[in-house]
């Protein structure tokens, strides 16, 4: 097996463990490249079926093309799609002008936690990777969240030999991270190998492209001429700038992600 085959096989193993051991299960689909790879892996793991719903936490500030593409792919692949918004916070005028971390917390973290509780999920599959930022580099594959959706990062359970955290009190849930050991280039090489669908915001137009997708007001484009996947791979092989450098919320504070993620952020 080569490197990509090994990554694929391990992620499929994790998805099947989650489906076998966790009761109500959903997959967080952010429309970005990572969770779209996750979607593809789920199709492979379950032989074309996806035996759980796909969830999009929609802040209403997403780049508009993302919503169009989301609905198109969901229809094409026959996905059971759940779109959830923090309606109350939006009605009260929540937005990035109130502070980026406040906004992320309300429209992403709170919305996600609200949906998890409403639907009684025991497990949420999330496409985070260790190489994205520090607090994710310390994640477990099966990562427990308590009734308040908090992550007790200083006291994580042991995880060894493919034996994951599958025992937990009722009301807690597990964040399942099948892509934890993938890195950004792996994702791109896999997308290239598989010829799978991907939103075109990642490809350069007028000398700019998105490297990471999020909400329109807080996600920056990078200068780039990469219009194809091989060009993106070539570009990434030579850069030393971090993937999330264009994500404004990360730069708010040295421990911004740790704090957001402690409270349930993906």
């Amino acid at each position: 097996m080569n490197h990509l085959q090994a990554l694929e096989a391990h992620s499929i193993f994790i998805l099947r463990e989650a489906y076998a051991k966790l009761g109500r299960l959903g997959l967080l689909w952010s429309i970005g490249k990572d969770s779209t790879v996750l979607l593809w892996l789920a199709k492979k793991a379950f032989f074309g079926r996806c035996p759980f719903p796909f969830i999009h936490v929609d802040t209403s500030y997403k780049i508009p093309e993302m919503i169009v593409w989301r609905d198109k792919i969901a229809a094409e692949l026959g996905l059971e799609l759940i779109v959830h918004q923090n309606v109350k916070a939006l009605a009260e005028g929540m937005g990035p002008q109130q502070g980026r971390l406040v906004c992320c917390r309300a429209l992403k973290t709170d919305a996600l936690n609200e949906m998890t509780r409403e639907r009684g999920f025991d497990g949420l599959i999330v496409g985070v990777r260790r190489d994205e930022e520090g607090s994710r580099s310390k994640e477990r594959v099966f990562s427990e969240r308590n009734r308040e959706d908090e992550w007790d990062y200083a006291n994580q359970p042991p995880e060894l030999w493919g034996q994951f955290k599958t025992d937990f009190p009722q009301g807690h849930h597990i964040r399942v991270h099948p892509l934890l050991q993938w890195c950004e280039l792996d994702i791109w090489r896999y997308i290239e190998r598989e010829g799978m669908p991907l939103i075109d915001l990642y490809f350069a137009r007028d000398g700019e492209r998105y490297r990471s997708l999020g909400c329109a007001p807080c996600t920056g484009r990078i200068k780039s001429q990469a219009r194809t996947i091989p060009e993106i791979i070539a570009e990434l092989e030579r850069t030393s700038v971090g993937e999330r450098a264009g994500r404004a919320q990360d730069q708010e504070d040295a421990y911004a992600m740790q704090k957001l993620r402690r409270d349930g952020y993906m």
Partner: protein, 588 residues
Amino acid sequence: MTLSTDLTADLTADRIAAPNCAADKSRELFKLVFVGHVDHGKSTVLGRLLLDAGALPQGAVDRVKTVAAETGQPFEPAHLLDAFEEERRQGITIDSTQLQFRTARRGYVVIDAPGHKEFLKNMISGASEAEAAFLVVDAQRGVEEQTRRHARMLSLLGVNQVGLVVNKMDLAGWDQQVFERIAGELTEFLQAVGLTPAVATPVAALEGDNVSRPSARLAWFRGPTLLEALDGLTKISPDAGPLRLPLQAVYRFDERRILAGRVESGAVRRGEEILISPGGKRTKVAALAAWLDRDLREQAGPGESIGLVAADEFFNRRGEIVSRPDDAPLVTDRFKASLFWMGRRPLQIKRRYKLKLATAEAEAEVAQILRLVDSSTLKPLAADRGEIGADETAEVEIRLQKPLALDLFSRSKATGRFVIVDGFDVAGGGVVTSAEEGLTAESGFFEGALRARCEVFEEFYYDLGEMNVNKAPGPRPLYGVGDPTPLKGRSYEYPEFFDIVVFRDKMVVKIRRGLVAGLTPLDQHAYEGLPMVNGRGFALQVKSTEDWRLARAEWAEMTPEAEPLLAARWLDFTAYRRIPFGRGDLVI
């Protein structure tokens, strides 16, 4: 919004590595863990290594520099790995970090494990995945408690490739004798736990001496830099051993019935015969399934997550293991193991825990502690105290509430190791060191802790060469509740509803519609008017409740001398059995 992040501005072609991404499409990726006592500088060594390799994104390095400047601290490479605020403040690693980087030779996943005693479980989580380990020792402080404990854990976890790093050589005056004394002492300890160090190297990580560049201050050292030492390790090839495919699930999304799982070792090929344990069912691989046609294949090897369609449909379930018939795992409900405990409360002997082995689960208890040792000093502790405390290791005998398919760890890693769950948490782990063959030798039935050995489905034949009645060779299956049974064979045929009376185990097995319905102790079983056979498959001539009472009483008193008489009175050989002819392995 456009940020000023400009990717094209950093197109230096001579970089050692792409940030954060270790492997290209085809090159090998090596998993390496750094362990050792708290404060001996594991994170600093690793931070320095990554920094020198240019493996960290500029943003991450800048952020650490900013925090250092804000707090008036010197730049500390360890903070590149210690991402949590608490870790940087306290200057310790709380949880393992995994990062990737690349050398000219290959890609690495490096795991930084915490050295504090309190976080041993996090060290184990990190180290359990590694192919090799580096033990980091402070030159000034020498070998300490966690240095030895981590070495012991590596040997238990099966991480056999170990290197030594003597760090902070600056604090020891760059003294060759200090390095040699520490390396010698540690080598001796490693040998006591069954490990031989592959390499030992002195470094001063804070300033980078001998990490990725040789240092003039260590001119007396002729060996490799740390980076060269890494590249000198051997990649252990994926396990070619016996076929082991633990089932994760059986899917029935459409007309196909797909057995899903990951091949842990060996290879599985279309058309080949397989055995599914502990059920003991034999069938052939009809196909390997895939969503996309281009993923369809004829065979699969170690590490592959596959879907297998069997030629015969049996009642299969998660936890069973697919193997070749002639190279099967053991099926047993008791075994001996080396165990380590990391639970908050001690493991109690004879208390029920959940045991997870590959994809199987069973209730289990430690029946006996054979030997208990302090994992750091290796000093024996009193084994008779009936419990195993945190950070202790022990040799134990484990009993399961139902038989599982498993292997000795020395034979197959993935199916020879297990974890123990206490309450909601994985609190211990272990490897199978020896297993009793008790259940594998005999087929039979089980329900929870109840057992009934029997040979009702064994084939007997008259060997024309030997002029003897022989038992045909074949699998010795174990049947659990709900399992279908082979009612018709070449030498027997049973009705769909009957009871099997196993006098030697004092147990009655109920077969209903051909499925195992359950086990009842002999003295609690009431005659239900169904046909009865004994444990060999001979009809038991019981036609009434009174017969049943009498039969039980007489067989309970049975002596070897009385057996032929009892058999003549109660048993009918030909009701369900016949004896076909055969010669050697050839049976008609």
